[in-house]
Symmetry: C2
Subunit: 321 residues, 2 copies
Amino acid sequence: MAEPPAEFGLIARHFLPLAGPGALGLADDAALLDPPPGRQLVLAADAMVAGVHFLPNDPPETIGRKLLRVNLSDLAAMGAAPLGYLMTTALPRDLPPGWLEGFAAGLAEDQRRFGLSVLGGDTVSIPGPISLSLTILGSVAPGAALRRAGARPGDGLWVSGTIGDGALGLRVLQRRLPADAEGHLARRYRLPEPRLALGAALAGLARAAMDVSDGLVQDCGHLCRAAGCGAVIEAARLPLSPAAHALVMADPALLPLVLTGGDDYELLFAAPPGAGIEAAASAAGTRVTRIGEFTEGPAEVRVIDAAGAPMALPMGGWSHF
Amino acid sequence: MAEPPAEFGLIARHFLPLAGPGALGLADDAALLDPPPGRQLVLAADAMVAGVHFLPNDPPETIGRKLLRVNLSDLAAMGAAPLGYLMTTALPRDLPPGWLEGFAAGLAEDQRRFGLSVLGGDTVSIPGPISLSLTILGSVAPGAALRRAGARPGDGLWVSGTIGDGALGLRVLQRRLPADAEGHLARRYRLPEPRLALGAALAGLARAAMDVSDGLVQDCGHLCRAAGCGAVIEAARLPLSPAAHALVMADPALLPLVLTGGDDYELLFAAPPGAGIEAAASAAGTRVTRIGEFTEGPAEVRVIDAAGAPMALPMGGWSHF
């Protein structure tokens, strides 16, 4: 019979070194996993397409890592700990030399960093752009998962890290904005930081949580609709990185982009006053900022400026369709 | 704030009716699943791209069903029972009207038929062909999963159902072969039949198993390499549907396509003589055929004709690269 075709060589060379226990050497029809006893499973899936979710000329090292981190961010938003992942890659036949090596090397680095490994997947060809899909598995103590519903009027509205870096970083990479000297904004677009330690620490403290992927205002609207209440965001309280702060100072018209641009992958959450959020975040080593509060009334998000006046926003967030 | 964009409307309209318990209304960052106590999890993922795994003008009703069934076939090959699935869809903006309705309706039909539901996923846009990915979860009694390794010389080589229909059906749909009156071959290409009942019945009886996706000879080679033995396939014993039989009788040059064409999604397995395979298959309501046996020697697959003479095959199976 013929030799195994090139596809199996690709998988063996690049993906087999990423396989962990249960993956059965990526040589069976499926993976086997003993679920951790007494835990609930947490499952999420995200897709990324070249030219839509990452730039076609992004370094391949960061592309796999971004896909993994976007999914890890979903686990963080549920307060879950990672178990493993499955990934499918639809790749054009004319990938640049070294692309797969870089892609797999980036995944290997983040597997070590976040303590998980690949369980299985599929590699196929596509007559079009690179199209990736990743399903992540995590676990959480029964009933302890953070959920989107649960915010109440009077709860503080909190966010982790800094907001706007991803959206600004995309425009830096598109040469529509000047780069900062350290490359911070571009790095934040390419490598979001899943807030796993913070998510775990918020279980039992936060009343509702999600991660910011489509834009702060739009995602805050999801928390409001799930809770049946409103929210107000004080723009002056938004945590900005020094690089983002410099850009917004130079051009205040960028503030709406910070509020609605997306690609933040920070945790947005509701907590009652006195919940001990700052102590928990400090123990988790993650900066958090109270940027507003939930209010009585319809499920609307209002953004107010330093004088308390409402700000008009040109768009609600990112949509694919 | 702005209304939720169109993407959320798409998901709510078409995919929310498919969501089952644990999916949290597709409104959270992740799904929650209580793993069945005392069972191992079985996990597989497959991708499908328009123009590669299905024809761009295939009815949308069958496309989602094929993706689900290909994954269910992986569970069947492990002897596992389905629990649920996550799916990501990368869709061009110019989908024909009604495409998503049909796609979701097909999935709904097969969810009922196979007793599972969607747990989560992602819907994104792609400047290229439809690109789909599905991760399936199943469960199996601990240690009972069928594996690819384990065949021994002297074991019978068995296959379920009929072989070659998928590969012939693709050529019928491409108008490279005449259609059968009942449309059997095209239907088999579009809607493979996952052998879940047979897979479950083979646990404890078969020594090794996998599903035939890349071609009978190539996939048989996987069983041989995993076991470190050879195999011989008797071409005269191949189970052909009446429609496939008629085409091969009219043009014997099609026989290599039957042996190597792939898209069969039948179970290929090894069992020692006297294992009671026929009784188990009969109880599962699935036809099985002993098409050869495993042999001492190197991990090679030989195909012999009715006179015992070796047949030369032009290619080993389907490869993406």
